[in-house]
């Protein structure tokens, strides 16, 4: 999604506490953010709460967003990721402090979501590239945690990421050129 003037004017309206502008932004970005949140926490109910919390924070902290430093989506992604990771960490601490058997029983009653599978260009990458991207972007792992998770050295992991990003870039550029050709043809 290109960073466009429409977003800038919508954000400007949100700064003036225009809730309709927040609705526009929600309609545009909520599914992408929800896709990230639910893959990170793996729980529909919790993911919905976190999505709501993310937009409340966007509403409250919009003054802190600087369009010159990057896209709105990146800023919102960071908010969603940090909120989600904090919640997961709190939950992990809770599990450590409580009776595990009780918690496990509770976990078993929750429906497990099949959201791990990725779509689009990333799904066409080789499995190790796909996993590397999935870990850092959709699971919220740091590079260091992710390379341990994959069982490869950090240097190798960094190469996976670079290669994966390069392939994604090529894929999207190809799509872009194809769209350009089609527009010219018709």
């Amino acid at each position: 999604m290109p960073h466009n003037n429409e977003d800038i004017s919508t954000i400007q309206r949100i700064r003036q506490k225009d809730k309709k502008a927040l609705q526009l932004l929600y309609d545009k970005y909520a599914p992408a953010l929800y896709g990230v949140i639910i893959r990170m926490c793996g729980n529909k109910e919790q993911a919905e709460d976190l999505l709501q919390e993310t937009f409340v924070k966007i509403w409250q902290k919009i003054e802190a967003y600087d369009p010159n430093k990057g896209k709105f989506y990146t800023w919102a992604y960071r908010i969603a990721k940090n909120l989600t990771l904090n919640t997961i960490r709190k939950k992990e601490i809770l599990i450590q402090n409580e009776d595990l058997s009780v918690y496990k029983e509770k976990e078993d009653t929750e429906p497990q979501l099949d959201v791990a599978a990725l779509n689009g260009a990333v799904s066409k990458l080789e499995p190790h590239h796909q996993e590397a991207i999935s870990l850092v972007y959709f699971k919220g792992y740091t590079h260091r945690e992710a390379n341990e998770q994959m069982g490869v050295p950090l240097g190798t992991f960094k190469s996976y990421i670079r290669q994966a990003l390069q392939l994604l870039r090529e894929s999207y550029t190809k799509d872009f050129i194809l769209i350009g050709i089609l527009i010219n043809l018709f």
Binding site: K19, V36, V56, K69, K71, Y73, V122, H143, K158
Partner: protein, 250 residues
């Protein structure tokens, strides 16, 4: 760190994913602001990540949006409450200021009251003094004006021709009061003294001060005359007859 290293070490990805320390983040932000080529790479990276996120978007249930906007309404209600809170805080501040002002006014009044009390005490003292003075004066007036009182005028002789003193003698209550203000002022080493002549002997009655209106002197029984002499300051045991300036026969 140069651009190549920033790219190879994955700093742009980490910057985007918010994995950097504050110092590293600051460094990358400055590099992006000053290097348009690096900024272009970052813009592409952001665009790719965003596109990937949109390709993997999952539509949340519509209830999330409803809950979100109803929660914002209650936030706004809280905002209104905060407005009230501000109003309450302002009122509290106003109350504090007015209390302070009233306290100061009270202190000022208290000082004024203390001053008034002091003045009242002074006035009371003066009134007491005046009353005392009045009683004395009244008593003297009664003495002077009483039917038994004999006023006697002592005229100065050739030594002090214009001198004049008035003596009030009351034989009933055995009292002598003299007004010596008509006598001329004497040097500091001199004083007027009054004597009673009893069978040829001069008996001391007391000193006469010219600055007092009425002087009470010693009453002497069977006095035949009253005499005024000029004596050394402090008075004399025996009259200096050469300095007799006035007398009157009783």
């Amino acid at each position: 760190m140069d651009r190549k290293k920033l790219l190879e070490e994955g700093f742009l990805e980490k910057y985007l994913l918010d994995e950097l320390t504050d110092k590293e983040r600051q460094y990358v932000a400055e590099a992006l602001a000053s290097d348009p080529g690096l900024r272009k790479s970052y813009d592409e990276l952001e665009a790719d990540f965003e596109r990937m996120a949109f390709e993997n978007a999952i539509t949340p249930s519509p209830q999330v949006k409803e809950r979100l906007f109803s929660s914002l309404e209650s936030t706004q209600t809280r905002t209104i409450s905060r407005t009230w809170l501000w109003a309450a805080a302002s009122l509290a501040a106003l109350f504090l200021l007015s209390s302070f002002w009233m306290y100061r006014q009270w202190k000022v009044s208290e000082r004024g009251f203390e001053q008034l009390q002091e003045q009242t005490t002074v006035l009371q003292d003066r009134l007491n003094a005046l009353e005392e003075n009045y009683l004395l004066t009244n008593q003297r007036l009664k003495t002077i004006n009483g039917p038994q009182t004999i006023p006697l005028i002592l005229h100065g002789n050739d030594l002090v021709p214009n001198a004049r003193a008035v003596a009030y003698v009351n034989h009933d209550n055995k009292m002598v009061v003299v007004n010596a203000q008509g006598l001329p002022q004497l040097p500091e080493d001199k004083t007027y003294q009054m004597w009673s002549d009893v069978e040829g002997e001069m008996i001391n009655m007391g000193l006469l001060k010219t600055d007092e209106e009425l002087i009470t002197l010693t009453y002497i029984e069977q006095a035949e005359s009253l005499n005024i002499t000029i004596e050394p300051a402090g008075g004399n045991d025996h009259p200096t007859v050469e300095k007799l300036i006035a007398y009157v026969t009783l």
